[in-house]
Structure formats: structure tokens, C-alpha cells
């Protein structure tokens, strides 16, 4: 079994590194997702073209290979090197930012055209229209898919262990080598990742409820089992009850 010393010296700092990597790359991905996502709804074809190119390139790349490229190829080409943790955050931020931009674009496109026209009629600038009209209405639509993306990002952080960032998985491997026992440590790892994903989902449910309340929609109703589930409620299935839109909070 893992001794207490090993747990405190290796595993706990690893958990903290995993949390940090998740947080930083999530922040970076969020910024990129909003910038690229709104650029892709632009009227100018050149802006759409640039953001579309970014999206296609980073959606089609394996995050793991990109990480390896940043750590092992970049120093050869440009003669300078990134800190491994920053390379991991950069790779995941760019990749997941591309995925996120598609969510942002889809949610912005789902805002009724009349809202945009009303903004135009009232003389709002393009930026004010986005900030005060379109994004507040698109935001509740974005939260559930962004939650899925965040969990995928959390799982993706296990990859940084392969570029020598001492995250939870890295610590797990160290302890495994030290103890020459695999089953308990990997089971613990899987459980800790699961618990983290669960906490993220619960947090995002709260965000979703507040976002919906913010524009006067009723919060989603969930049964007990749906509450325990990590899956997002209300897929495109026909069996679910129609959602109440516009109900008073």
C-alpha cells in the first residue's frame, strides 16, 4: 500500500498540479473560445476566414502530438524552450479553445435574428450588441456543452504527465514504481479524476441555473438519478418533457 509519506510528498502536490493545469488551460481555452467564436460570426469574410482556419487546424490536431511538438521540436527550430507545464497548458488551451469556439458560434447563431436587428435599430455598436444582447442570451445555451468540454479538458490533463509535468498521473506512476504495486494506485487515480469531474459538473449546474434565471427562464428539472448523473440533462431525445421556456423564476 501507499505509505503516508509517499501520499504527502508525491500524490498531493500532483493533485494540486492537475488542478492548476486544468484551471490555466480552461482559462486560456475560454478566452480563445469567445474570441474565435465571435470572430466566426463576423460579417467580414477575412475575419471569418482567419478564425475558421484556426478552428480547422487545431480541431484536427492530436493534443498529445502537439504537446510533444512544443516540447521536443520547438527548441530545435527556434533555439528556445518552453517550461513543460506551460507547453502543456498552451497545447490544451489552443486545442480546447478551438472546440469551445464551435460551441460559442453555435450558441450565438441560435439567438433569434430579431434580437440583433433590435440592437441595430437602437444604434448599439457591434461590441455593445455582443456584450449586452447576444452573449447574455447565448450563455445559458453554452453552459452544458462547455461543461462536457471542461471534463474532457480535465481528462486531457493526464497527458502532461508524459512531458515531465509532475501531475497526479505522474505521481501515480512514481508511487507505482516505488511500491511495485499497480492496482491500488491506479484505482485511486481513476477515483480522484472521477470525483473532480463530479465536482465540476455540480458547479456547472449551479452556473447554468443562474444563467437561466438571469434571462427569466425556469431552471431545468431533474429527477434524483439525473442529479447524480454526470450526463447533461435533456439530449435531443423525444422522450423528455418539453422544457419550459419563459416561465417565471
Amino acid at each position: 500500500m501507499m505509505t503516508r509519506g509517499m501520499f504527502e510528498t508525491y500524490f498531493l502536490p500532483g493533485v494540486w498540479i492537475t488542478i492548476q493545469v486544468t484551471l490555466y488551460s480552461a482559462l486560456m481555452a475560454a478566452v480563445i473560445a469567445f474570441v474565435i467564436g465571435t470572430m466566426r460570426t463576423s460579417q467580414l469574410w477575412i475575419v471569418r476566414f482567419i478564425s475558421g482556419t484556426y478552428f480547422e487546424i487545431f480541431r484536427g490536431m492530436s493534443a498529445l502530438v502537439f504537446m510533444f511538438w512544443l516540447v521536443f521540436s520547438l527548441p530545435l527550430i527556434f533555439q528556445w524552450q518552453l517550461v513543460p507545464m506551460f507547453a502543456g497548458v498552451l497545447a490544451m488551451g489552443l486545442t480546447y479553445g478551438a472546440y469551445g469556439s464551435e460551441i460559442v458560434r453555435g450558441a450565438l447563431a441560435a439567438v433569434p435574428v430579431a434580437q440583433r436587428e433590435a440592437g441595430l435599430a437602437l444604434g448599439f455598436s457591434r461590441f455593445d450588441r455582443l456584450r449586452r444582447i447576444e452573449i447574455p442570451q447565448a450563455w445559458p445555451e453554452m453552459v452544458p456543452p462547455l461543461n462536457n468540454l471542461l471534463i474532457e479538458l480535465l481528462k486531457c490533463t493526464a497527458l502532461v504527465s508524459t512531458i515531465t509535468v509532475a501531475d497526479m498521473t505522474f505521481a501515480g506512476n512514481l508511487v507505482r514504481i516505488g511500491e511495485s504495486e499497480s492496482a491500488p494506485i491506479y484505482t485511486l487515480l481513476l477515483v480522484v479524476y472521477f470525483v473532480m469531474a463530479f465536482i465540476i459538473t455540480r458547479g456547472m449546474r449551479v452556473v447554468e441555473r443562474q444563467a437561466k434565471a438571469g434571462i427569466g427562464q425556469a431552471p431545468p428539472r431533474t429527477s434524483f438519478w439525473e442529479k447524480l448523473s454526470l450526463r447533461e440533462p435533456g439530449g435531443e431525445g423525444t422522450t423528455g418533457a418539453p422544457s419550459k421556456i419563459g416561465g417565471a423564476q
Partner: protein
């Protein structure tokens, strides 16, 4: 050290071998994911709750834990209990099982998208359960989910490099001995 294109030409044969392994892993991973995903999806609609609950719990757990750690688990823990697979086999099984929980969700959406009238019609024609699934429901469900399944094939292609990690560790392990 510099970037040299000559070196690229030297490793091209090795690269083609690797490409073939990637395609093989993706192909067999896809087969496992599609078949196992269908089994999960049908089991989740089982009338017996002691089938539904364990299946739900297992798929939720697999979906929410990293593929890399699952591969480590398969590669290092499974031999303690019996089967000892090569890194490639472990990788294929790992990829297939991990993505089967995603395809299960896609199948579920497709099955729920089949109008209730189709189920009722099958019942009215007194088709057996197997025939209802095989002849009426699944052909309609699979037709509408093919694009979504394609997304996961691409995701699998991009995640297949993770097999290299356990392969490399395997080689390191041999060197230690």
C-alpha cells in the same frame, strides 16, 4: 542541433510502419467501440433495473476518467489478475472500451429519436424483441447517427498516440531488466 530534412527522409520507412499501426489501432478500436457501444445502449433500455443501474454506473465511470490512466490500469493491473497483453492489444482494447461509452450515448440519442409509433407498430405486428430491434428500430436509428459516430472515429484516430506511451514504457521496462 538543427532542423535537418535529411533526417526526415531517413525515418520515413519507420514512419510508414507507425502509420500502419495507427490505422490498425483506429480500425479495431472503432469495431470494438461500435459493437460494445450498441450493447451498452441496448442494456440501458433493459426493463430490468439490475441491468440498467450497473451499466449506467460503469459507463459513467469510464466516460469521466482519463483514457491514459485507463491504459496504465489495463497494462499494469490486468496482468496481476490474468491476461497479459501486448501494448498494442492493450491500447486497442482501451481505446475501444473508452469510446464505446461515448458511442453508447450516440446510439441512445438515435434510438430515442425513433418515433414511438414504430415501437407500437412492431408490437401490433407481434414481432419478437429481437426482430423489433434488428429490423425496425436499429436500421432507422443507425441511419440518423452515422455522422455523429464518424466524429468519434476521428477522435479515436487522434487519441491513438497514447498507445505509444504504454509501448514506450514497455520498452523502458525491458531495458531495466
Amino acid at each position: 542541433m538543427n532542423w535537418e530534412w535529411d533526417a526526415v527522409q531517413d525515418f520515413m520507412p519507420l514512419f510508414w510502419d507507425g502509420l500502419w499501426v495507427t490505422l490498425k489501432a483506429t480500425f479495431w478500436g472503432t469495431v470494438i467501440a461500435f459493437v460494445l457501444g450498441l450493447i451498452w445502449a441496448i442494456a440501458q433500455r433493459s426493463p430490468f433495473r439490475w441491468v440498467r443501474w450497473p451499466v449506467n454506473a460503469i459507463t459513467e465511470f469510464i466516460r469521466n476518467t482519463p483514457l491514459l490512466v485507463q491504459l496504465f490500469f489495463l497494462f499494469y493491473v490486468l496482468p496481476e489478475w490474468g491476461p497479459s497483453w501486448s501494448p498494442l492489444t492493450t491500447g486497442i482494447v482501451g481505446l475501444g472500451v473508452h469510446f464505446s461509452t461515448y458511442t453508447a450515448e450516440v446510439y441512445r440519442a438515435g434510438i430515442e429519436g425513433v418515433p414511438v409509433g414504430q415501437w407500437e407498430a412492431a408490437k401490433a405486428l407481434s414481432l419478437s424483441r429481437v426482430r423489433t430491434w434488428a429490423v425496425v428500430i436499429l436500421p432507422q436509428a443507425i441511419r440518423r447517427i452515422t455522422p455523429a459516430l464518424g466524429n468519434y472515429v476521428i477522435a479515436m484516430l487522434k487519441d491513438s498516440p497514447m498507445i505509444a506511451i504504454i509501448g514506450a514504457l514497455d520498452m523502458l521496462g525491458q531495458a531495466e531488466v
